[in-house]
């Protein structure tokens, strides 16, 4: 295992320091014969917020689903904290410290808000700590506290998004994968969500953020990758990306 891990870290000179928290090396993945990502290499360092931006169908969600183990890459390597994870089952990846809040607020509509949150901590056993974290996420999202007994399906879109993030935090992840947290939300709610994302990051969680709302994502992130048709088109600091022609024209809607 550790032998594999070292060799997984070694070859990619292009992808930053070898200490990378998360590293993807030439990852190819998708559904059946359709390869939605075609050789993606990227890295996330401990403590960073990294944005993955791109149009619909660029492969952003597929990238996250491959990292969290829902999809198995057909080529390439993924390592997390020095360990290969591209052959690990999704339920074991959570245990290793990666938590994924999937797109479309995939909450359990027929379970109560509280049950949803507790499921986030499913693989943990320390009760006192779980209760502490529950208190912490309910403080982070006071709206959820008022609705703990309600079924997830009765929440508004924004509340469901909060629940999805809060639930992902209940796993106490070291790396949080956020897929389109702003999708379909009002500008005010988007503000709130992103402010919370910053708070979560300051509290010590590394974040890989997928967003179509590039303006917002690049305000929060330190670095970013632009994906186009399943490949990395551009990698730079958030400031550079905001200034780049490609990003300004295509994703920030500027002339």
């Amino acid at each position: 295992m550790s032998g594999e891990a070292t060799s997984a870290v070694a070859p990619s000179a292009s992808a930053g320091a070898p200490s990378a928290h998360l590293r993807l090396d030439g990852v190819v993945s998708g559904y059946g014969q359709i390869k939605a990502i075609k050789g993606i290499s990227l890295h996330v360092e401990t403590g960073e917020v990294v944005a993955l931006i791109g149009a619909n169908g660029a492969g952003k969600s597929t990238t996250l689903r491959t990292i969290s183990g829902l999809l198995r890459p057909s080529a390439g390597e993924i390592s997390f904290e020095g360990k290969r994870i591209d052959r690990v089952a999704a339920h074991d990846i959570v245990r290793m410290g990666i938590s994924h809040a999937p797109e479309g607020r995939a909450i359990f509509g027929r379970l109560s808000v509280l049950e949803n949150l507790r499921l986030g901590a499913y693989q943990r056993n320390a009760r006192a700590e779980i209760e502490q974290d529950l208190e912490r996420v309910l403080t982070l999202f006071p709206r959820l506290r008022e609705r703990v007994k309600q079924d997830g399906g009765t929440l508004s879109g924004g509340e469901q998004q909060m629940l999805a993030i809060a639930r992902a935090l209940m796993a106490r992840p070291r790396l949080l994968l956020l897929d389109e947290p702003s999708m379909g939300l009002s500008p005010v709610l988007v503000e709130t969500i992103f402010r919370t994302v910053i708070e979560i990051n300051r509290a010590g969680t590394t974040i890989l953020l997928v967003e179509q709302n590039a303006a917002m994502a690049l305000q929060v992130a330190r670095r970013g990758y632009v994906l186009e048709s399943g490949a990395v088109a551009l990698e730079a600091s958030a400031a550079e990306l905001r200034a780049s022609d490609l990003v300004r024209k295509t994703y920030l809607g500027e002339a």
């Binding site: 339920h91 959570v94 995939a106 027929r110 049950e115 499921l119 639930r167």
Partner: protein, 303 residues
């Protein structure tokens, strides 16, 4: 009046059996969207295990007479163990390999398992029904004109107990919440750290345990175990699950009692030989007019 109460009690008796078996259909449907047509055979295997256990005690000891509570409890537990073991084996070899196949494939596989188990028992018993030893007094409690067999009281109470325990399990335990989560969204459940394969096995095991226990108690009630005895109760319980809204736990319970009571009452008007007809007419009617079930809403809560 007394006649109606008698019909109601008879309905609750058989309805409890339907309800307990129906849970197995509905739970498995919940997580796999598949009807386990071999579920009735788990019930049958439970009944045979009950027979062999109680018969063994009868032949080699006097425990059936001195401590029937103990021998019955052992028979029920063994019936559950056998049914659970079989269910796990069939899930592993007949259903799991077909998880990604078209939905018809596991259905046909289930029918195959059902036929296989039935025929194994047919051969093993040389097509002879096995008659249970008398563990319950065959006399009845009589209140006015209402007659209640001891085994009937036992069956009614035990059904309630099992339904209550199952409900608590599904609602309150971590494994129960995991089953509900997998039923709703398998991918997201695995992102929570839930082992989906293991949860599906748990679901099969829980449904089988209920069917196995029901088989033993039903065997004592009808006093005979036969290789074909799983078919009619199985398909009735399936009807009950559909009546209640397949996938819904409270629906399966309510559907079981509804079907049992409907059948019992129908015997007053059409005679006992038509009660199966009544059950299946109900099934067809529900499938045509309310396919989401009598008690479910269109967007059914698959609790």
């Amino acid at each position: 009046m007394q006649e109606w109460i008698q019909l109601l009690i008879d309905g609750i008796t058989i309805g409890g059996v339907y309800a307990v078996i129906a849970l197995g259909y509905t739970l498995v449907y919940g997580v796999l969207r598949m009807i386990n047509f071999a579920h009735g055979e788990l019930f049958m295997m439970g009944a045979f295990t009950g027979y062999y256990t109680l018969n063994g005690f009868e032949k080699h000891s006097s425990l059936n007479d001195s401590v029937p509570v103990l021998t019955i409890a052992i028979a029920i537990v063994l019936g559950m163990v056998v049914a659970v073991t079989l269910a796990l084996v069939m899930e592993r070899i007949a259903y799991r390999p077909l998880r990604r196949a078209p939905r018809l494939a596991p259905l046909i596989s289930a029918i195959g398992v059902s036929i296989l188990l039935r025929n194994i028992m047919l051969r093993a018993t040389n097509a002879q029904g096995k008659v249970y030893p008398k563990v319950f007094p065959r006399t009845a409690v009589e209140i006015g004109e209402i007659r209640l067999l001891y085994v009937q009281i036992f069956l009614i109470v035990l059904s309630f107990v099992f339904l209550g325990l199952l409900y608590l399990f599904i609602q309150r335990t971590k494994a129960g919440v995991a089953i509900r989560a997998v039923a709703e969204d398998r991918d997201t459940a695995s992102l929570m750290g839930i082992n989906v394969d293991r949860t599906i096995m748990t679901t099969f095991a829980v449904g089988a345990a209920l069917a196995g226990a029901a088989g033993v108690v039903y065997g004592m009630f009808v006093t005979t175990a036969t290789s074909g005895m799983g078919f009619i109760p199985g398909i009735k319980a399936f009807t009950a699950a559909v009546l209640g809204g397949i996938g819904s736990v409270p629906g399966a319970m309510a559907g079981g009692y509804f079907l049992g009571i409907s059948e019992a009452i129908s015997t007053k008007f059409f005679g006992a030989q038509y009660k199966d007809v009544v059950a299946f007419v109900l099934l067809v009617a529900v499938l045509i007019f309310r396919p989401w079930g009598l008690f479910g809403k269109r967007e059914d809560k698959r609790a």
